[in-house]
């Protein structure tokens, strides 16, 4: 800004105080989660609470929680679902985004606007009929139910279409004249140029699918097939009263992967949200 909103050091100081205070509120629950996961239960429930573990750091809580509930398997299920869904999003969105952006074919505009319309429908309306569909297909209590219906993304198609529209047309015309076909042009010329958009899409998809909860809750009830968010709810139901340390250790394991990926690929998360405002919703 040409004209500063904050004019003197005192105002800047107040602004920092506010920003740091809020930052503390944003981070404290994570800190509390981690610290509680290495405390004994008795220290979590004492009042007033202490900030750090008093006797010793109980790393064994992690081993214990992995032993008494199948949260290890559930983490793997989440990972499996997340990888498949992310690959699916990227592949189908690249293909559809390119077709919508670059290939003139009849019906393209109508299909595209209908596709965007799907974003306006709340997921809740699909819960019941999707469950019934899954039961007809025999996919209730199968990981397929968490993967196959979610391989497509209107958001991703939109994002990739925008990315492809931003590239010069001449690139492709040159390739087509040289005898390459559309597929060659797409994979050899266009895809490498939209890697940033693909990375954004992949991070958003990762987030969305790792954190998904409502649909798994409805369609998976076998505890060996549950995803980690469901596993956490079970953990809370079993040990929420007696072993908070274990519940917190489970939470750390469920939250850690997204935090790590966020730290590594922050730029893409923030760009994904800033550019479209649809990610993670």
């Amino acid at each position: 800004m040409a004209q500063a909103f904050l004019r003197n050091p005192f105002e800047k100081f107040l602004a920092y105080l506010l920003l740091c205070g809020l930052g503390f509120i944003m981070i404290f629950p994570f800190f509390y989660m981690f610290i509680s996961s290495v405390k004994p239960h008795a220290e979590i429930v004492q009042f007033p609470p202490a900030l750090l573990p008093q006797a010793s750091w109980l790393w064994s809580n992690y081993a214990e929680v992995l032993k008494i509930v199948p949260i290890g398997t559930q983490l793997l299920n989440s990972a499996m679902v997340t990888v498949c869904v992310t690959l699916g999003w990227v592949i189908t969105s690249v293909l559809a985004g390119y077709a919508f952006a670059r290939i003139p074919f009849p019906g393209a505009n109508t299909l595209f606007s209908m596709y965007l319309g799907t974003l306006m429908v709340p997921f809740a309306v699909l819960l019941v009929p999707m469950y019934l569909l899954m039961s007809w297909l025999g996919w209730v209590d199968k990981l397929a139910a968490l993967i196959i219906p979610w391989l497509f993304s209107a958001y991703g198609t939109f994002l990739l279409r925008q990315a492809f529209l931003g590239l010069p047309k001449e690139l492709e015309e040159a390739a087509l004249i040289d005898g390459a076909n559309r597929w060659g042009a797409l994979f050899r010329i266009y895809v490498p140029l939209v890697y940033p958009a693909i990375a954004t899409l992949a991070t958003i998809s990762f987030l969305y699918s790792w954190n998904s909860f409502t649909w798994p809750l409805v369609v998976i009830s076998n505890k060996e097939l549950k995803v980690v968010t469901q596993g956490l709810m079970d953990l809370q139901a079993l040990y929420g009263g007696t072993r908070l340390d274990l519940v917190m250790a489970g939470s750390v394991m469920a939250v850690m992967p997204t935090l790590m990926v966020y730290l590594a690929a922050q730029r893409y998360f923030i760009e994904g949200v800033a550019s479209s405002g649809m990610g993670g919703r």
Binding site: M1, P29, P49, I103, P149, N181
Partner: protein, 310 residues
């Protein structure tokens, strides 16, 4: 040329094929099927020898006369208004503040975004313990504030946040706002980047003070972003389910104490999957869909009047 056009049509549809099949099978079909179910008496576990009956508007009529649904709707609207206000207005102010040339700009942005990426269930469980009436940090802070500033005279006292129907929804709002502020802030920051810097220079030359700059340049020029943030936040508020579920769902399938956290989606989840009433649940889902659709349409109309798309 004609061969090329034909190839384009073939290639275009081939590339769209996976997406089209997916949208038809896992979106269009369930959507229409749900509309059909809403007008029937279908059960989740429909006995094979009992045919599904068409019942007209019965499910809808029942919903509007049903006290639980009215409560769920009221809870959802109350939640949405509060959560929307507290996750949009502070996000806007924060974005303006962080957009200043201050040290650590991207650090703060990244920091406020952390809650966005974490799993709702994971963080809700932590908040559940922070809200605990016996050992939670929130009551600890409240007690400290009370004893330091004598706030008990204005009624600030530690309470049982999640155990008392009066306060349970407040807890849901706090967690939702905490998780959404950073998200909205990032969108506002992107919007602020799009405002022409010369306008600020001109305002400064004209001797505008900062409140005039804020209210007459920043806020009006940011209005398309604000409009977008308000709509998307409202739509996600109206569908809130996982936060109240993780914070307060009980073994007896109550949403918090005395069902005080029951939102529309929680209600339709319970009707559809616990109470076996597929058709009624579908009707509820369509009522929600129509509400969301109506809000979107109204907001688009209104936006033409007050949003500045310059």
């Amino acid at each position: 040329m004609n061969a090329r056009k034909l190839r384009d049509i073939v290639d275009g549809y081939t590339m769209l094929l996976p997406t089209l099949v997916g949208v038809l099978a896992f979106f269009a079909f369930p959507l229409l099927y749900s509309l059909y179910l809403a007008f029937t008496d279908a059960k989740l576990l429909q006995p094979a020898d009992v045919p599904i009956k068409f019942v007209g508007l019965e499910n809808f009529v029942f919903a509007f006369g049903n006290e639980t649904f009215q409560e769920a709707l009221y809870n959802t609207l109350f939640f949405s208004v509060m959560a929307m206000f507290f996750s949009v207005v502070p996000a806007l102010l924060l974005a303006v503040l962080i957009n200043e040339k201050i040290r650590g700009q991207s650090f703060f942005r990244s920091l406020y975004f952390v809650p966005v990426v974490a799993s709702v269930v994971g963080v809700s469980l932590v908040w559940k313990f922070l809200f605990n009436k016996d050992f939670g940090w929130i009551n600890l802070v409240i007690e400290w504030l009370r004893d330091t500033f004598y706030l008990d005279v204005i009624g600030i006292e530690p309470v049982s946040w999640l155990g008392n129907a009066k306060y349970a929804m407040t807890a849901v709002i706090v967690v939702f706002v905490w998780k959404t502020i950073g998200y909205n802030m990032v969108i506002f920051m992107a919007g602020l980047q799009g405002i022409n810097k010369q306008l600020y220079e001109a305002a400064s030359i004209d001797g505008a003070n900062r409140w005039q700059t804020l209210t007459q340049i920043t806020i009006p020029l940011l209005s398309p972003t604000t409009f977008f943030v308000v709509i998307t936040t409202l739509i996600s508020c109206l569908q809130v389910f996982d936060v109240p579920y993780a914070l307060g769902w009980t073994r007896g399938n109550q949403a918090g104490p005395a069902d005080s956290m029951l939102t529309t989606v929680a209600h339709l989840y319970r009707e559809g999957f616990i109470n076996n009433s597929t058709s009624y649940s579908s009707a509820l889902a369509w009522i929600l869909t129509l509400i969301i659709f109506a809000i979107t349409v109204i907001q688009f109309r209104v936006s033409n009047r007050w949003v500045n798309y310059d």
